[in-house]
Symmetry: D2
Subunit: 327 residues, 4 copies
């Protein structure tokens, strides 16, 4: 059996959540340090992606210590450019002052990446976009999105910036909404240190094949990271990975392996009503099953079936690997 990859998680996996209905939250609030402690309880978790700013009062030193205490390291930092201040947009906010504030926060986050020796600044501009027909001038909006990203990444040539695209939510429509659109924007930006963090669930409910999206991004040399979860193809449910789309998550990881992509297998799940640690352990258990199934997959026979585009033959090979049994 091949060796397992490193497993990771967004630190928000270990937070509690609010939504527009349970406005008092699905559980008591947790600090950055609480979340790190919970993350440390997950078996086989090696890295985390941390939101920034940390909980008020929590300093960088404490975070470093907490990570070390749990045997965790930082893979990325996610500046919270989607809080109240930025609710009408970060890069695309109509107010230049707010745009500057968003950039300032991202510059700060870049500093944290350096301090923690993380791999990338993750940029998820969830509030950039629009809600209503006729709300925005589309050329202007796209230009703000692209120019802002260029300004940000241009200021930190030593760091990598990973855009996490998503079709929608919280904006009714987001600016960076698909793999292809992101690649197009990255070409316009024209810098070497801007890439993509591919979220399996975003791709799935956006109508892409996540495997195809991964291949496209890899072929453009821009796959900086990825995370996984699951949903019902209509919304970013952020369910535990593998609970719905076993076959497609398997195709996704097969594509990564075929391309020798050897990064972290990372979780972006929101266990609103579940125990965080239980949800993470269940997910990593599934990912290990997937990993072992990849070992069992007859890739030569699969390649040959795909050359003929023979869906039935491919399916039988996949099931043989997944079900792990001789007929």
């Amino acid at each position: 059996m091949t060796e397992y990859p490193r497993f990771g998680a967004g630190l928000w996996h270990f937070a509690t959540y609010v939504d527009r209905y349970a406005s008092d939250g699905y559980g008591p609030a947790r600090t950055t340090l609480d979340a790190i402690e919970l993350a440390g309880q997950v078996e086989d978790l090696s890295v985390v992606d941390l939101n920034y700013p940390f909980t008020p009062g929590v300093g960088l030193g404490e975070v470093k210590d907490a990570l070390a205490a749990q045997g965790l390291s930082a893979i990325g930092i996610t500046p919270e450019i989607y809080l109240r201040k930025f609710s009408r947009g970060s890069f695309t906010n109509p107010d230049p002052g707010v745009r500057k504030a968003a950039l300032d926060l991202m510059h700060e986050a870049a500093g944290i990446v350096r301090e923690l020796g993380a791999d990338y600044v993750k940029i998820w501009p969830g509030q950039d976009g629009w809600d209503y027909p006729f709300q925005v001038d589309h050329r202007t909006l796209w230009k703000l999105a692209v120019d802002g990203m260029r300004e940000l990444a241009g200021a930190h040539p030593d760091l990598k910036f990973a855009i996490e695209y998503k079709p929608r939510e919280p904006r009714v429509k987001m600016t960076w909404d698909s793999a292809a659109r992101s690649l197009l924007g990255i070409q316009e930006i024209g810098l070497d240190n801007v890439g993509i963090l591919l979220d399996f669930g975003h791709s799935l409910y956006g109508g892409e094949s996540p495997a195809d999206a991964a291949q496209l991004i890899i072929d453009h040399g821009r796959l900086y990271g990825m995370d996984v979860n699951d949903n019902l193809r209509g919304w970013d449910d952020d369910l535990v990975v593998g609970t719905v789309h076993l076959t497609e998550i398997f195709e996704f990881f097969h594509t990564l392996r075929k391309n020798n992509w050897d990064g972290v297998w990372q979780l972006d799940q929101f266990p609103f009503r579940e125990d965080s640690v239980d949800a993470a352990n269940t997910a990593i258990g599934t990912l290990k099953r997937i990993h072992r199934a990849l070992d069992r997959l007859d890739t030569a026979a699969l390649a040959e079936a795909q050359e003929r585009q023979d869906a039935m033959a491919a399916q039988r090979l996949v099931q043989n690997a997944l079900f792990g049994e001789v007929q």
Copy 2:
């Protein structure tokens, strides 16, 4: 011109919101009294549906006074059976103690309906349902939903209970998810005082034709109320009414008028990033346009086109009414 209907709104229209990203809220928190004051600033608003409990510290007397001061009355009370305590379900919570707590809150809300002389207790069990395949036994869940509603409504034969169905959110799948399922459940309940609050947007993104759903519910004698908004058919966006589906909202109101349904035209909008009063005024302006267009609609010619199921003829009549111009 026929007289305008009474216009109403859920009081939450004048709240601020949180979601899982802007966890610090889209604006500073507002009390029940703040919201009533804002509602009073809307032109032509007559009634509101109030969440219960009110903001801690706000008493019923104050609410009565505040409503009176703004010339508003209560049409319904919506018990908040979707807060943290009920996040794993209200009627269908696996814990009998929580189910009892939910019923207790609803009994209390029934008392408020009497005190305020409102029309109905609105029951929106947004946390009842499931998130994952295999999470629940479906027979048990449905039985809990139906039995609980029967117990509640049976205890208050003098009041009306309006179920607001919705396909999903915050649960990945909700128990009361469609007009037909709700009517089926109401038949199982077997009481005269349980009906439906039809939300245009829920119907639309659930794959129904809201006009057809209204007709079906009316034909079963159960349309206790309705509210309107808009969305992109994939999620409960709660956009301002008429901003996307002008023709279908027009068909919805045409169906109500044809059936002599003369209740309140009520807003259920979530203006996350808009000024609440501006959003309500814009919506009511649109509703008045719709109302005037109904006056212009040649209903005899339309009935005749519908008898032939002639979609093109119907469409031309509709556009003549909507665009309000002689060709």
Copy 3:
């Protein structure tokens, strides 16, 4: 290991297809007899559901002989009330003459059910519904649908009539569109011999949980038959079963077994670009895997997890059964 169920297929599985683009068809036309011969080549296929009328020139005697020669029997007959003549509706056609022609064809199909000793007449009114807002009067349309079904089933009290609901296609919106709506209509019909043929894929892309829909229909005593396939939740793709939704098809069959429903496991697939026999064999291979996994499923532990609505525990049990391996 428990014994496998009987497997079946709609005979159209072995036809070739046309669509609005490949108007010359995805392959040369096949007669009823050709299709029966192909069905006979599938391992482990016991029964078929036959479209009626048969190909012009093919008589009932020949069909009987062909079925016998292949060791097949008829489970149902599907009158083609969706061909050109009925393209504006069968039960709900605006023209009374066409409605009568549709009923005549269904009466004929009832006779064939008797002749072949099949279990039911399957009624799939794919052209009943509407395409445009304002096209129909919804009360009239529903009344036509219900009254027509009552007239049909009332004339044949010795036979069972199974309505196969579907959200849409070929009509943009179909009249019998969901489990709940169908049960509501069946109650209005008020006869004992009208039930439901539950299509897994229709339920899935209609936003239902197929397992929940099965339970609801069983609890109303109306599950006359079912068929399976797969899709991407946005359309009735009629893909080969299990190729996308392994977990949910497993939950569906678990629900049937739990209720001791012991009918035929039937395929409703459209292998447009695949070899029909290969597609059916692949599907039945998957269904056997599912069946064996049901044997492995720890149902006591699952019931206990479901009582707590513990999605993670349930998921681990399901994966243990599906993956068929000791951790």
Copy 4:
């Protein structure tokens, strides 16, 4: 009032259709010449896009004469690379022989464009893509799509080739599926004569804002043509334009006008159950209303509202223009 644009239609608007259910067709077959004659009966129709090959037995001379007799000219030619022969793909077919046959047909179509003086060869590779997870190697598939298009367009530097992207149907997933992906592919092709035919409905049900897609394509200098219709955002219903999404079609045309795009306003509708000429006349009537509403739109005030991203102000301006009445 500004002058109306030229109106056009795909000639298939005047055909009859088959689908997988009404396999005997929604009406008697029509020849290319029949369709041209019907197109000629539409008021204000100037140009058509013709499928190629023409009906067997119909020569180019006859087509020219028929067009002339109806006062029509050809805007584009659409080679039918989606018929049976190409049902497993045209550019991406696994069989090199079929790929060559597809190219041969497209070369022929290029000749017809020259003969008729049309504007472009329209390339709609509806069968290029996949149906099942694991069916194809995604890198290979995309390379075939891009290389084939380059080979085609490279052979005819005097002509324009307009790719019409679409998310899906008839393939479960199509290769050229969005505006951004198409622009990315066009960059890889590296030729000046490959652009996009933007179909409003494809964009809408693919989750794009058609106005945003138009702006993006225009900003890349690749908007060769467009056509319009309507749908319910879940499928390519090809309904008559403006029957559902009045506001968004208005935003689409506003975007075109703002960019001084002055091409043909073209219909791509499939009136399965409607009279073709009636459907086209109704559509053009709506388009004229839209055109007059554009004249009424206060574009300066709108630009100012969009600068603030003020959705409510924009909406009021839009309704003032659409409803065509002083408050």
